[in-house]
C-alpha cells in the first residue's frame, strides 16, 4: 500500500493535511490518522500497528482494527493504492 501520487501532504505540528489535487480539496487528519499516514510506505502494516499501540496506549488488536479501518477509508477515497 502506498500514498497515491496525485496527492500532496505535510504534517504540521503533528497534524496531517492532505491535498487532493485531482478533486482540488483539502483533508485534515486526526492525530491517529496523521500518525498512521506519516508511516505509510516507510514501514510495514504490522509495524504501524505496533507503533500505534505504543504511542496511543491501546491493545495491539485495537490498534490493528483502527489501522485497517483507516486504510479502508483512505482506499475508498483513492488516497491509497497498491504498491
Amino acid at each position: 500500500m502506498r500514498i497515491a501520487p496525485e496527492l500532496a501532504w505535510q504534517t504540521i505540528d503533528g497534524e496531517g493535511i492532505v491535498v487532493d489535487l485531482p478533486r482540488r480539496r483539502l483533508l485534515g487528519l486526526n492525530p491517529v490518522g496523521s500518525f498512521i499516514w506519516a508511516r505509510i510506505g516507510r514501514v510495514s502494516e504490522d509495524e504501524i500497528c505496533a507503533e500505534v499501540a505504543t504511542a496511543f496506549e491501546v491493545e495491539e488488536a485495537q490498534a490493528r482494527r483502527d489501522v485497517r479501518a483507516f486504510f479502508a477509508r483512505m482506499q475508498d477515497r483513492g488516497f491509497l493504492v497498491a504498491s
Partner: protein
C-alpha cells in the same frame, strides 16, 4: 483552489517556525525585459543545476514545506525546470508556476498538466498590446502571453492572471478586468512595486500614481476586497523568518521572498536544513515580524489596519519596523475607499 492551510494550522506553523511555503527562483534569465522587474540582471552566472535543486527540494520536505512556488526570471528558460517541478511533486508537495507564458507550447502545457500544479500564474501588463509590450519592453509579448494562456487552457490547467499595477497600465485597469472576465480567468492585481534584489530603486519610478491608487482601491472597495490586517499586540506581522523562505538561482537562502537584506547562507556550502535551524539571520528576521506588528499598532492610523511588508520598508527606508511613504500612501487610499464605500 487556493491551497492554504487553515488559520489554526498557520498559527501552529508560525509557532514552530515551519516554512510551509517556499519560493524557488530557478534562474535570472528571462526573454522579456519588464521595465519594473525586481531581478538585478537577465542572465545567470552560477545558476544551480537540476540536481542541486533536487537536493533543496528534499530538504524542503524535511523542513515541513507544503507549497512551493517555482519562478525566475522566466523559470521555463532553465533547461531542467521540469526536473525541479517533478522533484517537488515526487516529494508530495504542491507547486505553483509563475511564467510569462511565452515558452508555453502545447507540449509544455501537456507536461505541466501531468504534474497537476495548483496554479499557473501569468502576468498581464495591459489590456492592449501597446501598453503590455511597453511594460515588458518586448514587442510581441502580449500575443505570446495569450498563445501561452490558450495552450494552458487547452490542457485544463488552473490559470491565474495577475497585474502589477503601474503608471504605464493604470489607465487600462477597467479594461484589463473586463478582458480577464471575458476570458473566464481568475485575476489579481497588486499595486506594490519593489526595489531590484540588488537594492536598485529604479523600478519605483513606475509606481502607480496617487490618482491611480485611488481608482484601484475604490474598485476593491466596491467589491468589498480592500485588504486588511487584524493585529493584536504580541502577534506577528507575517511569516517572515517563520513560515516562508526563498532560494535564489545561485543557492542563497532568504527568510521570505522579499527579504534580501541578509541571507541565511548558501545551500552549496551548507544544507538547507542546517541553514534554517541554525541561522541567526532567520531568528532576527522572525523577531522583526513581531516587532513590526507591535510598532504599527502602537503608531495607530491606517497602517495599523493595513498589510505591511517589513522587507519592502527595509529596502525603501532602511527601517523594517515602520511604514515608508509608499506604504502609507496605499494605506490612506485604502482607508479613504473603505469609508467612501460604507457611506
Amino acid at each position: 483552489m487556493a491551497v492554504r492551510a487553515s488559520h489554526a494550522l498557520q498559527e501552529r506553523a508560525l509557532r514552530h517556525a515551519q516554512p510551509l511555503s517556499a519560493l524557488l527562483e530557478l534562474t535570472y534569465a528571462c526573454n522579456w525585459r519588464c521595465v519594473f522587474c525586481y531581478n538585478p540582471r537577465h542572465h545567470d552566472q552560477r545558476r544551480m543545476s537540476g540536481a542541486e535543486w533536487t537536493k533543496v527540494v528534499a530538504d524542503l520536505r524535511q523542513l515541513g514545506t507544503l507549497n512551493v512556488t517555482v519562478t525566475g526570471g522566466e523559470p521555463l528558460t532553465h533547461p531542467e525546470a521540469f526536473e525541479v517541478m517533478e522533484a517537488v511533486r515526487s516529494q508530495a508537495m504542491t507547486f505553483r508556476l509563475y511564467t510569462n507564458g511565452s515558452l508555453v507550447t502545447d507540449e509544455v502545457a501537456q507536461r505541466l498538466a501531468a504534474l497537476r500544479p495548483i496554479t499557473v500564474e501569468l502576468s498581464l501588463h495591459g489590456a492592449s498590446s501597446g501598453t503590455h509590450d511597453r511594460s515588458t519592453a518586448t514587442p510581441g509579448s502580449f500575443d505570446a502571453l495569450w498563445r501561452g494562456v490558450a495552450a494552458l487552457k487547452a490542457h485544463g490547467l488552473p490559470i491565474v492572471l495577475k497585474t502589477p499595477l503601474t503608471r504605464i497600465n493604470e489607465n487600462e485597469l477597467e479594461e484589463m478586468i473586463a478582458l480577464t472576465e471575458r476570458e473566464g480567468v481568475p485575476y489579481n492585481l497588486d499595486a506594490t512595486l519593489t526595489h531590484r534584489d540588488d537594492g536598485d530603486s529604479a523600478p519605483l519610478q513606475y509606481s502607480v500614481t496617487p490618482e491611480g491608487l485611488d481608482r484601484y482601491y475604490a474598485l476593491l472597495a466596491r467589491h468589498n476586497r480592500v485588504p486588511a490586517s487584524h493585529r493584536t499586540f504580541g502577534g506577528v506581522n507575517c511569516g517572515l523568518g517563520r513560515t516562508t523562505l526563498a532560494v535564489d538561482p545561485e543557492g542563497n537562502v532568504y527568510p521570505c521572498p522579499q527579504w534580501r537584506k541578509s541571507s541565511l547562507g548558501n545551500v552549496r556550502d551548507t544544507p538547507l536544513l542546517e541553514l534554517w535551524h541554525g541561522s541567526s539571520v532567520r531568528a532576527e528576521a522572525a523577531a522583526v515580524a513581531q516587532q513590526a506588528n507591535d510598532a504599527l499598532l502602537a503608531a495607530g492610523g491606517p497602517m495599523a489596519r493595513f498589510p505591511f511588508c517589513p522587507a519592502v520598508a527595509q529596502e525603501r527606508t532602511g527601517d523594517p519596523l515602520h511604514a515608508d511613504p509608499l506604504h502609507l500612501l496605499e494605506a490612506q487610499a485604502a482607508e479613504k475607499a473603505r469609508l467612501a464605500a460604507s457611506r
